[in-house]
Amino acid sequence: MRRVLPLLALLALAALPAIAGKFYVELVAKIMIMAVFAMSLDLLVGVTGLVSLGHAAFFGLASYVVALAAPDSYTAANLWTSLPLAIAASALLAFAIGALVLRTRGVYFIMVTLAFSQMVYFVFHDTKIGGGSDGTYLYAKPEAKLGDWTLVDFGDSTQFYYTMLGLLILTFAFLRLVLASRFGHALAGIRSNEQRMRALGFNTYAYKLAAFTLAGAIAGLAGYFAAVQFGFVNPEMLSWHQSANVLLMVILGGLGNLFGAIVGAFAFILLQDLFSSLTKHWLLLMGGFVILVVMLLPGGLTRAGEAWRTWRMPARDA
């Protein structure tokens, strides 16, 4: 069951454009982008134990690079230059912010990550960069050309969908490799006992900074394609609500195994869609739902089975 389910889900995702309409193809493409974003945060929160409430800054900065790298709103940026530029910008920002915020821990870390992401928000909200508080429209999608031949047309929702599916799989595989590496084990060690890791001779600050920078870079990757899909950028993409939402996705799915982040992204956005179709005041339902899930399923949806079993049959030694 544990092996079959992800495969079935993958098959369903691959078959979706053949059976579903354009609306759902675009919705699921958006979910897959958010899943990449959520996985990058899981590397920090679930794997390393760093609760960041400012992760949207790196996502949003890369979105803005799409707009700023284009000559104007009607001319597309080149994918091969603008994508590395966006990722590099996010990684650099993550490195700079990380170097400061990692001097703190625990609850300070939460507040400080929130505060710095708010600073980035104000840079784009208060100044003329990227169109101020209104943001900028991108009427043209970046071009992915090899010579004269167009590799992928991002304007076509099916082609974009499969590109995002590929991106999701590649990011997942890459992060799995990271987790299985010596570096990943060191991060897990830092989460469970940082003192001991330091005593073992690990420079935990450097490890955490590397994780923070990597997570920022991957968030940038997601932010880049979010801007490509939405066709606009605005300061809300790096607001703290965005940071809180992605944190919700991660905990909703379950921490630390990357699958949870993907499941959480699907659950969160589909629920958002469902609730907002029911009532204008859907945030009330969302708030209630968040509270219920965190109270009742602290391990997230992917560990709901375990929670159900312990509830029915409390462990004997507990």
Partner: protein
């Protein structure tokens, strides 16, 4: 810069700083004593401002509205600690963040359902609606002076409570060593409820008293919340004097930043925080409640 303009900016800085202090002092005490990170604290400020709008329309008098509002805020805080926050103490910080974020969504939507999403103004009482002249051409609203004075009185009362009363002694002890207070047989559950109610009342009072000077709008709580986090980080978690110094510092930096830098002023306080983090990552006044 003209002396009267300078004076006005100083008065604005002090007013902003003192308002921030009222919100941040509750936030820092709640964290210091109960170990709870409360994202919904800014919502209490927002709810206070909307309470001032609604109650002053009902009663026709801002001061009666504020008195009523404070009583309601204390009751609300006491109840909220009982039915919600008391379940958060054993949860980790991540879960506290998400649970209180859920609470923000609920408060904002309830506000939207009850009062709507419009921006409102609250009239200052007629007796205080005037301005006093400063220098030859400038004036300063009387009501804004009253805000600073009222905040000063409340801040003094808070320090008096913390320093000279038995309750204050328990709160200070709780902020410096929670486990020790528990083991000394102090009714910690009651203490938590009182501190929480106090924090809610301070934030709501700040929202109510400042409502006539600024407008009342959706999302105002979140803006204050994030700046109060900066205050708490700079001042040191759990430290009320630290919160006062940090709040005034931010009041001045933000107000004068807007005068000299215009568009880039929004990021100044965060740069200030960055400097403090490099210099003293634990904040200016770590571990001294008063």
């Amino acid at each position: 810069m003209d002396v009267s303009i300078l004076l006005i900016q100083i008065l604005n800085s002090v007013q902003y700083g003192l308002l921030l202090f009222l919100v941040a002092s509750g936030l820092t005490l709640i964290f210091g004593i109960m170990g709870v990170i409360n994202l919904a604290h800014g919502s209490f400020y927002m709810l206070g401002a909307y309470a001032a709008f609604t109650l002053s329309a009902l009663t026709g008098n801002l001061f009666i509205a504020i008195a009523l509002g404070v009583v309601l805020a204390v009751a609300f805080g006491y109840l909220l600690e009982w039915v919600f926050f008391s379940f958060l103490y054993r949860r980790d910080h991540l879960q506290q963040v998400l649970l209180t974020y859920g609470l923000i969504l609920i408060f904002e939507e309830l506000r939207s359902i009850v009062v709507g999403d419009d921006v409102h103004g609250v009239a200052a009482p007629a007796a205080l609606a005037g301005s006093i002249p400063l220098g030859t051409t400038m004036t300063y609203p009387v009501y804004n002076l009253l805000i600073s004075a009222a905040c000063l009185v409340v801040a003094a009362l808070l320090f008096g409570l913390l320093r000279y009363t038995r309750l204050g002694m328990m709160i200070r002890a709780g902020a410096s060593n929670r486990e020790m207070v528990r083991s000394l047989g102090i009714d910690i559950e009651f203490l938590f409820r009182v501190v929480f109610a106090l924090g809610v009342a301070l934030a709501a009072f700040a929202g109510m008293i400042s409502a006539p000077a600024s407008s009342v709008y959706p999302g105002m709580g979140n803006q204050v919340l994030i700046i109060c986090f900066v205050v708490v980080v700079i001042g040191g978690i759990g430290s009320v004097p630290g919160a006062l110094v940090a709040a005034l510092l931010i009041g001045f930096v933000d107000t004068f930043g807007k005068v000299f830098l215009a568009d880039y002023a929004g990021i100044l306080i965060y740069l200030l925080m960055a400097v403090i983090l490099v210099w003293r990552p634990e904040g200016l006044f770590r571990e001294s409640a008063v």
